[in-house]
Amino acid sequence: MAQRGQTIGVHLILVACAISVILPVAWIALAAFKTQISLLRGDLAFAPYFGHFDELLFSRTSDYAAHFANSLLVASLCTLLVLFISTLAAYSLARMRWPPWVPVLVLTGSLVFHMIPPITLTGPWYVMFRSIGWDSSYAALIATHVALHLPIGIAVMYVFVREIPQELEEAARLDGCTTPQMLSRIVFPLVKPGLAATGILVFVFSWNEFAVALNLTSSATATVPVAIAKFAQEYEIKHGVMAAGAVLSIIPAVLLLLFAQRHIVKGLTAGAGK
C-alpha cells in the first residue's frame, strides 16, 4: 500500500515537470494564433487568428520562406558533410592501427574544440571569409557549421564504429577487400543507426545555430533563428509574428523528437561524457 502511494507520488512530480516543459511551448504556440490586442490583453480564451502566419509567409516585409529555405540548405549540406567526414575519421581512429596517442589527441582536441564558445572564433572566421570574398555566403556558413558539429559526429560515430565486429573486417581483408570497398560494403551499412543518430542531432543543431549565423550572413543568406531574432528587435516588437516564426521553426525538431526519439537519446548519450 505504501509502495503504491509512493509510485503515485513519483508520477505526480514527474507529470508536474512534464507540464512545466510543455506549458511554455504551448503558450507560444497559442500566442501565434492570437491577435496583437488579444495578446496584449493576455486573453486566455480567443478566436484563432491566422494573420501572423499570413504576414510571416506572404507579406512583403517578411522573407521567412526564403530564410526557411536557407536553413534547409545549410543544415542539410552540413549534415551530409559531417556524416561523411566523421564516419571516415571515426573508422580511421578506431580501426586503422594508429599509434595510441593519435586517437587520444584527435578525440581530446575535438572535445576541447566542442567546448569553446563559437563566438570566440566567429571573429577570425569573419575576417578570413571576408578576405577571400566569401562574406555572407552559404559556403562560409556551411563550412563553419561543419566544423562546429564535427566533434559530435566524430564522438558518436566512434562509439558505433567500434561496435563493428573485428572478425568481419579481417575476413573481408583476407578476401582482398580494399579500404574503399570495406568502407562502402561493411562500415557504412553497419553503422546506419549511428548515422541516423548523428544525422538527426547535427541537422537540428545546425538548424538551431544562431551566434555564428547572425554574424556571417546577410539578409539574403540569413537562417531562421536570425530572422526570428529580427522580429524581436524591431522598434515595435511584433510578438505575434515572432511567435508564429518560432512555431514554424520548431516543426522539424518536434517531428524528429516524436518519430526518432531512440536515435536522439543514443546520439546525445554517446556524444557526451566521452
Binding site: L14, I28, L150
Partner: protein, 300 residues
C-alpha cells in the same frame, strides 16, 4: 596467393589510414587551429577594412591593458561566473532528482524522456522568444499566474536585481533535460545485483542512495558537472533575445561582450583580445577539471 592479397591489403590500409583521417584534420586545421592563430595575431593589432581588404596596424599589448578597465568585460566575466555556478548547480540537483525518479517508474518512462528531451532540441532563439513573452510584465503568463494568487508581478527582465536570475531560470529550463538524460543513462547502466543484495539486507531507500547509488554515480556526476560548467560559457542566444545584456550590464555575459566589441562596435582587435582571454580562462578551467577527474578516478 592469400598472403599476397593480405599484404596488399595492409599496404593499402596504411595509405588509407591517412586518407580517411585527412578530411577531418583539414577541417580542424582550417577552421579551428588557423582561426585560433589568427585570433592571437588579431588581438595585438588594430584592424580596419579598406576596399574589402583588412588593414592591420600593430597595437602591442594595448588591448590587453584596456581589458581590466572595461566595465563591459568586468561585468561579463563576473556575470558569466555567477550564471554558470547558479544555473549548473540547479541543473545538477534537479536533473539528478528527476533521473532518480524516472529510473524508479516502470510505466511511462519513454513518454517522460521524450517530453523532457524537447528543450534540448529547440533553438536557443526560440527559447528566448518563449520566455520573453512569458516574462512580459504586462501580459506574460508569469505575472498572470502570480496575480491569480494575489501576488504582485515583477518586470522580470527589466529589473536590475532580477534580470540575471530570470535568465538563469531560462537556462535551467533549457539544460536540465540534458543533465537528466546523461544521469539517467548512467543510472540505467549501474549493475542491478548490488541493489538486489541491498534489498535482501533490508536497506532503506536513503541508505541505498547514500551508500550505493551516489558512490557508483560519482564519475558520471563529475563528468556531467564539468561539461555543463564549461559549456555554460557558450550562452549567447537567450541573452541576445531576452535582455541584450541589460538592463545596464546586469546580464552582460562574456560571449555577448565579445559580440558587442567585435561586431557591433567593429573593434576587431580589441574583440579578439577579449576572446583570447576567454579561451585562456576556459583552458584553465578545463585543465583543472581534467586534473580533478583524473585524481577522482585514480582514488576510486
Amino acid at each position: 596467393m592469400s598472403t599476397d592479397a593480405a599484404s596488399a591489403g595492409i599496404g593499402d590500409a596504411s595509405r588509407w589510414r591517412y586518407y580517411t583521417l585527412a578530411p577531418a584534420l583539414t577541417v580542424y586545421l582550417l577552421l579551428a587551429l588557423l582561426p585560433i592563430a589568427n585570433l592571437l595575431a588579431m588581438s595585438v593589432h588594430d584592424i580596419r577594412w579598406l576596399e574589402g581588404a583588412a588593414q592591420w596596424s600593430f597595437a602591442g599589448t594595448r588591448h590587453f591593458a584596456e581589458l581590466p578597465r572595461d566595465p563591459l568585460v568586468r561585468a561579463g566575466f563576473a556575470n558569466t561566473t555567477l550564471f554558470a555556478v547558479l544555473a549548473v548547480a540547479a541543473e545538477m540537483v534537479i536533473g539528478f532528482f528527476l533521473a532518480l525518479l524516472v529510473s524508479r517508474v516502470a510505466a511511462g518512462r519513454v513518454a517522460y524522456r521524450t517530453i523532457f528531451l524537447l528543450p534540448i532540441l529547440l533553438p536557443g532563439i526560440v527559447i528566448g522568444a518563449i520566455w520573453k513573452l512569458m516574462y512580459n510584465p504586462d501580459f506574460g503568463i508569469v505575472n498572470q499566474v502570480l496575480g491569480a494568487f494575489g501576488l504582485a508581478g515583477h518586470d522580470w527582465l527589466g529589473d536590475k536585481s532580477l534580470a540575471l536570475l530570470s535568465v538563469v531560470v531560462v537556462d535551467i529550463w533549457h539544460w536540465t533535460p540534458f543533465v537528466f538524460l546523461l544521469l539517467l543513462a548512467g543510472l540505467e547502466s549501474l549493475p542491478q545485483d548490488v541493489y538486489e543484495a541491498a534489498k535482501v539486507d533490508g536497506a532503506s531507500a536513503w541508505a541505498e542512495l547514500r551508500y550505493i547509488t551516489l558512490p557508483m554515480m560519482l564519475p558520471t556526476l563529475a563528468v556531467t558537472l564539468a561539461f555543463r560548467l564549461i559549456v555554460s560559457f557558450k550562452v549567447f542566444d537567450e541573452v541576445y533575445l531576452l535582455t541584450g545584456g541589460g538592463p545596464g550590464t546586469a546580464t552582460e555575459v562574456v560571449s555577448f561582450s565579445i559580440y558587442r566589441r567585435f561586431f557591433t562596435e567593429d573593434r576587431m582587435g580589441y574583440g579578439s583580445a577579449i576572446s583570447v582571454v576567454t579561451l585562456f580562462v576556459l583552458a584553465l578551467v578545463i585543465v583543472l577539471c581534467l586534473g580533478a577527474l583524473r585524481r577522482r578516478t585514480r582514488t576510486a
